[in-house]
Symmetry: C2
Subunit: 198 residues, 2 copies
DNA sequence: TATATCATGTAATCGGTTACATGATTAA
DNA sequence: TTAATCATGTAACCGATTACATGATATA
């Protein structure tokens, strides 16, 4: 078989369905962006495509909810076959290792080509971006879902640990960004003042 | 204009060409994997495609080197237009923020569906993987290139700072992985021993 | 009145990966 | 003798993104 039946993103949507219960593609996208932001991202149309795929696989069931003055809401629910698929997946060997794509770091490493101010501006914007991320992750920690398979009275311990990963990662990243910014600003100052040596 | 003329990966290859001097696509792939591993990854055929693209843009020049008993080596060199493109790029606003795709984290967050042992095994493999990464990054620190635009007698300070990012990131990641593994192992123990409560 | 949100999707395209082809050299 | 490496690339495909379409409701 060349074409796979499921991908990481497939299992991401599937797993979320367990925690949310029956949900529409639209709502799942919101949940996805909050819960899985630290390790994956998906577009709206991708979520719809994955739900259709899983419907064909029998991993989810769709129920059409009529609405007034709006398009019908298609509400999806995970099936026992879907739960089995999640369990199978956990036993498989990960297809790929961690993949990062970070244009800010790519610019930084070639920062010697930047005109004065450009690199520092890029870094300041990145700092603002990542500070917002940290805040969002901290907010998420206060409304974590319970685990329907285990203790329903407490927030899911896996989500708790993931939250701590997100926070650790963002804090490390921010620490570095601030170091890098100091370096970039110092370089700008050195370039604007008349060079003493050389 | 809808189709872009250059992407982050384009500038990645272009920037490396400054440090390596004239290089073949084959060799650039090796350099790419070492120097840009923390923020981007590229396949061999992608590198060839980017070199062809930049040749058409006039950002690089190609020289064919004949070889005995081997296909000709196409050696690329950056042009002044290429250097200008790098500088322009540094002034633009990054198109996308950080993107992470990490199947290990995705499995972890849905780890309650894992059969006993599966999650811990995934985490142990991830620890081995990331420990290798740390070692590679530390090795890289000992053979960093000089910056041909600045002080040629010292390793490039941008590469030095990137190296420290890679190390910080991997150490944070490893610290978390070990916490997560402890949790997973404890969970496995609790499931194998007869439950006292419930 | 204009924008944003709710809610669904399709079509087209793009960026990236995989598979394949070639053939000599070197190491296990 | 087998496998890996050097060195180049093409073709096909796949996963993901972007743009577009629809139309009501709520908000500014």
């Amino acid at each position: 078989m060349s074409k796979q039946e499921a991908y990481p993103i497939t299992y991401g949507v599937l797993g979320l369905l367990v925690y949310t219960g029956a949900q529409s593609g639209y709502d799942l996208k919101q949940v996805f962006d909050i819960a899985l932001a630290p390790m994956w991202n998906a577009t709206q149309s991708q979520i719809y495509a994955e739900l259709r795929r899983m419907d064909e696989l029998g991993w989810v069931e769709m129920e059409r909810q009529e609405q007034e003055n709006r398009p019908d809401k298609k509400v999806y629910r995970i099936t026992p076959a879907g739960v089995a698929a999640l369990e199978e997946w956990q036993g498989q060997h990960p297809a790929r290792g961690l993949q990062m794509r970070d244009e800010v770091l790519l610019r930084f490493i070639f920062g010697s080509f930047a005109r004065p101010g450009d690199l520092a501006r890029t870094l300041r914007e990145a700092i603002a971006d990542h500070e917002q991320r940290v805040m969002r992750y901290r907010q998420n920690l206060e409304c974590l879902p319970a685990n329907p398979l285990e203790d329903a009275s407490r927030p899911d311990p896996y989500f708790v640990l993931m939250g701590s990963f997100a926070e650790m990662f963002e804090e490390t990243y921010l620490r570095w960004l601030k170091m890098a910014l100091e370096f970039a600003e110092e370089r700008d100052r050195a370039k604007s003042s008349p060079p003493a040596s050389q």
